[in-house]
Symmetry: C2
Subunit: 214 residues, 2 copies
């Protein structure tokens, strides 16, 4: 997948493919650019962010930046793709439904340490509710995927006889995902007062009859 989507330029370790390291340098540069874009989008959103400002933050000319990302949309999708790779790695629970729920806690633990990413997702997911936003389809599909992941984990727990009686997996999945999103907003306004990890852990633990494994 990395080879097929060189434009995202952010997944996996840097590998030197040429004697001069040109490919590796290009990838490293693209990572710098997506990191700067992540920061800027998290501050002002995607619509207000210009490629010129991103270029300025990494010390490139506008033209040089266009060599790596031809359009504003291409850069946005690279930023989103990067975050998604990270989350997929964290949420890999190898078929154990309770461990799959626990992996959500790990994602939120990581988020506490990366408020820039939390800002980015908070503002982009809100902006992109507009159907004409270039990330609209990406976010709409992402919500489907995340709701299916949590719903499947809860159905797996049900099949294993460890889901608390009376819990509807699909309804509970919507509540869990909503809780995670809503806590992020509170966290950004009041970092010290918002225990995102504790709140999610309590919510998940209330859904199953066995100790949550993280």
């Amino acid at each position: 997948m990395t080879g097929a989507r060189p434009d995202t330029g952010v997944a996996g370790p840097v590998r030197r493919r040429t004697a001069g390291g040109g490919y590796a340098k290009g990838r490293a540069r693209r990572r710098e650019i997506t990191a700067a874009a992540t920061e800027l989008y998290g501050e002002v959103g995607y619509r207000s962010a210009s490629l010129r400002e991103v270029a300025a933050r990494v010390g490139l000319s506008h033209t040089a930046l266009l060599h790596h990302f031809r359009t504003k949309e291409a850069l946005l999708l690279a930023v989103l793709e990067q975050r998604d790779e990270e989350d997929r790695a964290a949420a890999d629970a190898a078929g154990d439904p309770v461990a799959a729920l626990g992996s959500l806690v790990r994602v939120v633990e990581a988020n506490v340490r990366r408020p820039t990413i939390v800002e980015l997702f908070c503002i982009l997911s809100a902006e992109a509710t507009a159907p004409d936003h270039p990330a609209h389809v990406w976010f709409r599909d992402r919500y489907r995927t995340v709701l299916a992941f949590v719903g499947d984990a809860l159905r797996g727990a049900q099949a294993a006889g460890v889901l608390r009686p009376g819990v509807d997996p699909a309804d509970a999945a919507r509540r869990v995902v909503a809780l995670m999103d809503g806590l992020q907003v509170q966290f950004l306004y009041d970092r010290a007062g918002t225990d995102m990890v504790g709140a999610l852990r309590a919510e998940l633990q209330a859904l199953v009859t066995v100790p949550l494994t993280e």
Copy 2:
């Protein structure tokens, strides 16, 4: 308060204060402008919205609009103030803690019928997490107020002996408010599939041992 803050220009019914109706006309015009701004902010956020675009939507010149709202910030605060007035009216529960919780369901029922307002709050609350955003303090204070409202209702339920054992009022308030915010995002991506009212009602009902009154 209306008299002390004429700039917000949106609270309460129109009253004719002069024989020529100039004051009433001015208030009606300001309501038109805040309605157009509400729509535009909900579409593209505050940062990307220009006063020129708002003016164009109500058929005014930029200069004529500046007569009603001198700055972009003044218009933003008028829009926020209007929504707040509506919510305060809906959430007035006259001292009954379970009715106070039930009033949250009424607010969400109203939100299902006004997706433009949901879009507005979703995108503005995300944008305004940036400390330099002109609505940052407004939203930070609003979260404090809303969390205190829900927390007080849950503490009231506790004092009345109708809070479910083991529920911590402050923690549960954070979860309820997070759920409401997070469901709004899901609703904007999938209106038919997201039952905001049902999910909130179930969450609140699980917190008290008596039937929720709405």
